[in-house]
């Protein structure tokens, strides 16, 4: 976006994710708050217990965006062991993490939210990641914690991923404000679908350059495409769109704290299924409303969701639609009216839609839509996770690797699976009762 539109001016939108550092006096220079861009530094902390990935970033085309001091790395990794990540490295690096967090926070005018991005199946992202989540709650209790978690698929080659995921789930249940679960399978399917569509020649006109949700072609520097790059770009787009209304103007702004407020009716039910449309834009500039409407329909289809779930056939507790580009309130209303009858909403939130309109579309698109659903369709994902966990746990397989670690006990496991079971029960209850009472609860009677 910066490259395409802003002609190098550091503005409010950029400042949400980057600092502008005057590097003429070296990397430690002061922040510049307005005016031309000198050197952008991401407001980010990169943590990994092995060096490979971080080193690649620091040698890659985006190296200048990252402040060398905002890194925490080690050499040996966490061995796909949640306990090593959470208990061992957590303890070891606690002080250093807190210090770097404080430093980053100090550079912010007004810190609203932390984005934690990690996977659930491994050791560092899962273990140390959830340790950091805890830390954030302790040190910055007023700041929102949005977590983007990549869940392992059934055929995950990390044998202990069910343990790691369930142990991490307990932490997410208790300490996250919102979780956006992602499954690689879904990302993979989306990537394939796009390639198929393009290669099949079914599309009359060509796909607009830079518009694919998987491509990094619109980004500031050309990045060499690696296998996960296309999939990761989808998640990047998710986070960009999620924050677009906070960064850019629009007729109905939707901030992160509003997302949390409207989509989380009960503290623990904060898992949001996301979908992005369109996946690409065709090159013709005219956008007949039919195509706009198709964008809305797609957002609710099973193959646009970022996890293996089908919200249309489960129960909605709440739904948010954030539209970008030249889309007006009447388009929004028309589509909500059109789609509502085919969706099942909980009894106390029959018309519960949270909507946002942001005027600025993503690079290469004329418009785009993000749908966030608090929906019981996450239940199967959690049930499967629990099943895979139990398969291992019953046989006590690999347990010793975990219990070896200082601070780790069997109770950690039983508490974690119990927390997950409780969560599944809550979703079950909602599905069974559709959220409640058959008839409207009787109103207060006023003595006349």
């Amino acid at each position: 976006h910066l490259v395409s539109f802003q002609k190098g001016i550091y503005d409010e939108a950029l400042s949400s994710f980057f600092r502008n550092v005057d590097t003429r006096s070296g990397d430690d220079g002061p922040d510049i708050y307005k005016g031309k861009i000198c050197s952008l530094k991401a407001r980010a902390l990169l943590i990994d217990m092995e060096e490979g990935v971080v080193n690649e970033i620091l040698q890659g085309p985006l190296r200048d965006l990252f402040d060398g001091k905002q890194l925490i790395t080690d050499v040996s990794g966490s061995g796909n062991n949640w306990a090593v990540g959470h208990k061992l490295y957590g303890c070891q690096y606690r002080e250093s993490i807190v210090e770097k967090l404080r430093k980053t926070a100090e550079h912010c005018d007004c810190l609203q939210c932390f984005f934690i991005i990690h996977s659930m199946g491994g050791g560092t992202g899962s273990g140390l990641g959830t340790f950091v989540l805890n830390l954030l709650e302790d040190e910055f209790p007023e700041v929102y914690r949005f977590v983007t978690s990549v869940y392992p698929s059934g055929e995950d080659d990390v044998i202990t991923s069910p343990y790691n995921s369930v142990l991490a789930m307990k932490e997410l249940n208790e300490h996250a404000d919102c979780v956006l679960p992602i499954e690689n399978e879904s990302l993979f399917d989306i990537v394939n679908k796009i390639h198929q569509m393009i290669n099949s020649g079914k599309l009359g006109s060509t796909v607009k350059q830079n518009s694919m949700v998987t491509s990094s072609a619109g980004s500031a520097k050309t990045v060499q495409e690696k296998p996960f790059d296309a999939m990761n770009n989808i998640v990047a787009n998710l986070l960009l769109t999620l924050t677009s209304s906070a960064r850019f103007e629009g007729s109905l702004n939707m901030d992160l704290n509003e997302i949390s407020m409207n989509l989380v009716p009960f503290p623990r039910l904060h898992y949001l299924v996301s979908s992005l449309t369109p996946l690409y834009t065709l090159a013709d500039v005219n956008v007949p409303s039919r195509r706009l409407d198709q964008m809305f329909s797609d957002a609710f289809s099973r193959d646009h969701q970022l996890i293996q779930a089908d919200p249309k056939h489960s129960l909605y507790l709440a739904c948010a639609l954030l539209v970008r580009g030249n889309v007006q309130v009447s388009d929004l209303r028309r589509n909500i009216e059109r789609l509502k009858p085919s969706l099942h909403f909980v009894s106390w939130n029959q018309e519960g839609w949270k909507t946002g309109l942001c005027s600025v579309p993503p690079v290469g698109h004329s418009h785009s839509l993000l749908a966030l659903a608090n929906n019981t369709c996450v239940k199967p994902t959690f049930i499967e996770l629990k099943d895979r966990f139990m398969k291992l746990y019953k046989k006590k397989a690999h347990l010793h690797h975990y219990l070896h670690v200082d601070g780790m006990e069997q109770s950690c496991f039983s508490e974690a699976v119990s927390s997950l079971s409780d969560l599944i029960d809550e979703y079950d209850e909602l599905d069974a009762t559709k959220g409640g009472l058959r008839t409207d609860p009787s109103r207060l009677k006023i003595a006349v």
Partner: protein
């Protein structure tokens, strides 16, 4: 006789801007059938009411802009100044960075007390600029967090600081099928609180205005700007020096002594002629209209009842309550608000 406008939240500021635009264009526009002299006195009265003439070349709106996030105010200020016909006072605004998160409790219990002094100082400054202060006009939506929560708090402060002034709250009723999921909670809390401090509530329902845009004005792709311009038009017609009862009121009192007719409803038949129609005094019609408006209280009864019903439904399942208790609004406060509104509903039903 001057009116100080307080624009609260995104909705309040977006609408406020259109209102000043509409008034300004009306003043500059042709005077239709009335005499030149009448037009001049009309213009002077109107300018005096809404603008102050300071050292700047253009009239300065008598307004205070408040929002808990910066983007909308910054846009509003710059668009107004760019018009070249009027502007806002550069200092008459207050914003923060975080927003209110659509949380009434956040607006009312956190932002309110925290920023009370600064906001009331700005209001005081504007009030002092007026030769004769007629009263306050606040613009807010009920669905969000700032307009609704902070708006309710500010209204209370206005009442406390200016006990004898007239306070008119312009309240935007959200779309029934939702803009904000907790809008019914926010609406219930807002209305019950406003009842205690406000003199009159002037209501516009998004659904109704939307229909006007679609059916009467034939706009194909309706934007919030279209909606806001319609609302501003209606408000302008009410506020111009020919002025009396408002639409869909709970209970009304006149802002000014003069009774000249704005023909609220007929202005919708010919939007282009609306300005001309305002200037024609039709005292006779006016009385008829106001009689029918007041007795026609069923107008807002249904929407009010719907909002309370939906909010109560949600409240019975305790959904989202933790978001409010987090900022100091407890279940009891909800119950108080429900009770207050049920009383209003039953008083109207008995009529």
């Amino acid at each position: 006789m001057s009116i100080v406008t307080v624009q609260l939240g995104q909705c309040g500021n977006q609408i406020g801007h259109e209102v000043f635009n509409a008034i300004c264009s009306d003043v500059r526009g042709t005077h239709g059938l009335c005499s030149k002299k009448e037009n001049e006195s009309y213009r002077d009265a109107c300018k005096e009411r809404f603008f102050s003439e300071e050292e700047s070349e253009v009239p300065v709106a008598r307004a205070v802009l408040v929002d808990m996030e910066p983007k909308v105010i910054s846009q509003t200020l710059s668009i107004a100044a760019r018009s070249g016909y009027w502007k806002y006072d550069d200092r008459s605004h207050f914003c923060q960075k975080q927003g209110s998160g659509n949380n009434w409790a956040n607006g009312y219990s956190v932002h309110g007390p925290r920023h009370k002094e600064i906001i009331m100082n700005l209001v005081q400054k504007e009030a002092e600029k007026c030769d004769r202060l007629g009263g306050f006009f606040t613009i807010m939506s009920m669905a969000g967090g700032t307009g609704s929560g902070l708006g309710a708090f500010v209204t209370q402060c206005l009442r406390d600081t200016f006990p004898t002034s007239f306070i008119l709250n312009h309240v935007i009723w959200p779309y029934g099928t939702g803009e904000v999921i907790v809008q019914n909670y926010n609406s219930v809390l807002t209305l019950s609180h406003l009842y205690q401090s406000s003199d009159a509530l002037l209501v516009h329902e998004n659904d109704v205005i939307h229909k006007i845009c679609a059916q009467l004005m034939n706009i194909k792709q309706i934007s919030f700007r279209d909606v806001n311009q319609v609302i501003a038009h209606q408000l302008g017609s009410v506020f111009q020096p020919t002025y009396t009862a408002e639409s869909g009121l709970h209970y009304s009192r006149n802002l000014l002594g003069s009774f000249r007719d704005p023909s609220l409803y007929t202005s919708w038949l010919n939007p282009q002629d609306a300005f001309n129609v305002w200037k024609t005094p039709r005292a006779f019609n006016k009385y008829e209209k106001s009689a029918s408006l007041v007795s026609n209280s069923q107008f807002l009864l249904k929407p009010l009842d719907n909002v309370v019903r939906k909010a109560w439904n949600m409240f019975a399942s305790k959904a989202y309550i933790h978001q409010y208790t987090k900022f100091g609004i407890e279940e009891e406060d909800f119950l108080d608000s429900f009770t207050a509104l049920e009383q209003v509903i039953s008083s109207y039903t008995i009529l």
